[in-house]
């Protein structure tokens, strides 16, 4: 720190600096400032570039990973706290939206009889709740895995170009990296890394996500890649392993299942085929798949915390367990 060590002669040596100093007189020792600024800039850029180099070269087990884990311990509780503050307001807003919707329903049905209207006002909510419950038990039944429930408490911004969320369950709740994350509609993604009470989830819609999928009708296998879009145009692109098999529009895709059930357990519904493109050039078939899960409004999710614990009575008896579903092995 050589502050204000200002030799007098630079008049002839550095005329540019002098004129600048004279122009912005009220800022004080401007030349000193800008020299410090240049040093700070050079050091900062060097530090950042070094970090980028180290992290990019060392992935996935880069030396930066402990820093991330440390940051998760600091930011995890903060994000959970922020969520606790905000979520009542958000829930209230959605409650208001729902009640508005119900009112609209009521208005439309005023013409029909009063009994029907009253039935609908309560019935819609009950039916929705029942449907959600059915779907959730359906997911857990069909997979038969034990789930840990969690809420989404933070969402990665679009500026970061990744589709990741933080959930409020971590190693303390039994969540580990590379576990399947589902919600009542189907596959959400997989756990990337965990903190003690939070975990980062890579959504299936992320452009870097690859999920092994199976067409329910033909049992054909393929790989699903996200297109990185969260909104209504969020799609998965399915590349089929066998180019001769043509999926049909409306076919349902479930997860194929990785060896040992990590990162993806078999049989979780992923989405439906919307479009099929067969390219003659490289003899491959790709299909556009619309995910069952609305990735833009995730709230409650479940993390598969372990291997199949016990078969629900009378369900999925004929299903092979664990990684037996992955003949190719090593599905991502």
């Amino acid at each position: 720190m050589r502050r204000r060590a200002r030799p007098v002669p630079p008049v002839t040596l550095r005329p540019k600096a002098l004129t600048r100093a004279r122009r912005s007189q009220p800022l004080g020792p401007d030349r000193d400032q800008s020299r410090h600024a240049r040093t700070a800039l050079a050091v900062s850029v060097l530090v950042a570039l070094t970090l980028i180099g180290v992290d990019a070269a060392g992935r996935p087990d880069s030396p930066v990973e402990p820093l991330r884990t440390g940051a998760a311990e600091v930011f995890g509780p903060l994000e959970a706290g922020a969520d606790a503050v905000v979520s009542p307001a958000v829930d209230l807003a959605s409650l208001v939206a729902r009640s508005r919707r119900l009112q609209a329903d009521n208005a439309r049905l005023t013409d029909s009889n009063a009994r029907l209207r009253a039935e609908l006002a309560t019935g819609t909510v009950d039916r929705n709740r029942l449907a959600e419950y059915d779907a959730l038990t359906g997911v857990t039944d069909s997979t038969g895995f034990e789930l840990v429930n969690a809420r989404v408490i933070a969402i990665g911004p679009a500026q970061a170009f990744r589709r990741t969320v933080t959930i409020n369950a971590g190693t303390a709740d039994g969540v580990r990296a590379d576990r399947t994350v589902v919600n009542s509609a189907g596959l959400v993604g997989r756990v990337l890394r965990t903190g003690r009470h939070t975990a980062t989830v890579l959504l299936a819609i992320d452009a870097g996500s690859v999920v092994g999928g199976r067409l329910d009708r033909s049992m054909e296998l393929g790989f699903l890649r996200g297109n990185g879009s969260l909104g209504a145009d969020g799609r998965l692109v399915l590349d089929l392993v066998d180019p001769d098999s043509l999926p049909a529009k409306g076919d349902t895709i479930v997860t194929w299942g990785s060896r040992g059930g990590t990162p993806y357990v078999p049989g979780v519904p992923v989405g439906t085929v919307r479009q099929v493109q067969a390219s003659a050039g490289d003899q491959s078939v790709t299909a556009t798949v619309r995910p069952f899960v609305d990735m833009s409004s995730l709230d409650l999710v479940g993390v598969v915390t372990g291997p199949r614990v016990k078969q629900p009575a009378g369900k999925s008896a004929g299903r092979p367990a664990g990684g037996a579903d992955a003949p190719g092995g090593g599905a991502p």
């Binding site: 530090v47 992290d55 990019a56 911004p157």
Partner: protein, 170 residues
């Protein structure tokens, strides 16, 4: 005071990044949230000068790189915000005098930061980043940052002034 100032700065950075990924996730426009950390850095650079802005940008960017659910290659936000802080510091003479110049400074810094982050991602061929997706995100991010500037930057500048009443030293 020698402990208080860095402590307050650290708390500010932590809270800002938390609010950005937590609270503002509910208020996102097409997934884009305002870059509050950038606004904090710009305000600091205007009040305290480019050197301080650069270093704070590096640290705030580092927090954004590492705070969950971030998963990009670390150091990219640090680079982006450090350069944004330096840029804002260069414009501090004007930005101190007129509100319009402050808004322009924020706009330039936002554009620079988002582009640098996207560009480094393109160079490292990170998933999800293409020229098209960048051009989609860039204007929304810029407008959102500018829109929220009147609410955040004056407040942040006030805090930086209170933190250090003496003129910028380094």
């Amino acid at each position: 005071m020698i402990v208080v100032r860095p402590a307050v700065t650290a708390v500010l950075v932590l809270l800002t990044v938390t609010v950005q990924v937590g609270l503002f996730a509910q208020l996102s426009i097409a997934g884009v949230v305002p870059d509050l950390a950038l606004l904090l850095v710009v305000a600091a650079a205007i009040v305290r000068g480019p050197a301080y802005g650069t270093v704070l940008g590096l640290l705030a960017g580092l927090a954004m790189d590492l705070a969950p659910p971030a998963d990009g290659v670390a150091g990219r936000w640090a680079l982006a915000l450090a350069l944004a802080g330096w840029l804002a510091g260069q414009a501090r003479g004007d930005a101190r005098q007129s509100a319009f110049a402050t808004v322009v400074t924020v706009a330039v810094a936002s554009l620079a930061a988002t582009s640098i982050y996207a560009l480094t991602g393109l160079v490292l061929s990170e998933p999800g980043i293409s020229v098209a997706s960048t051009l989609e995100v860039l204007p929304v991010a810029l407008l959102y940052d500018v829109a929220i500037t009147p609410l955040v930057v004056p407040l942040a500048m006030l805090v930086w002034r209170k933190l250090d009443p003496a003129p910028a030293r380094w």
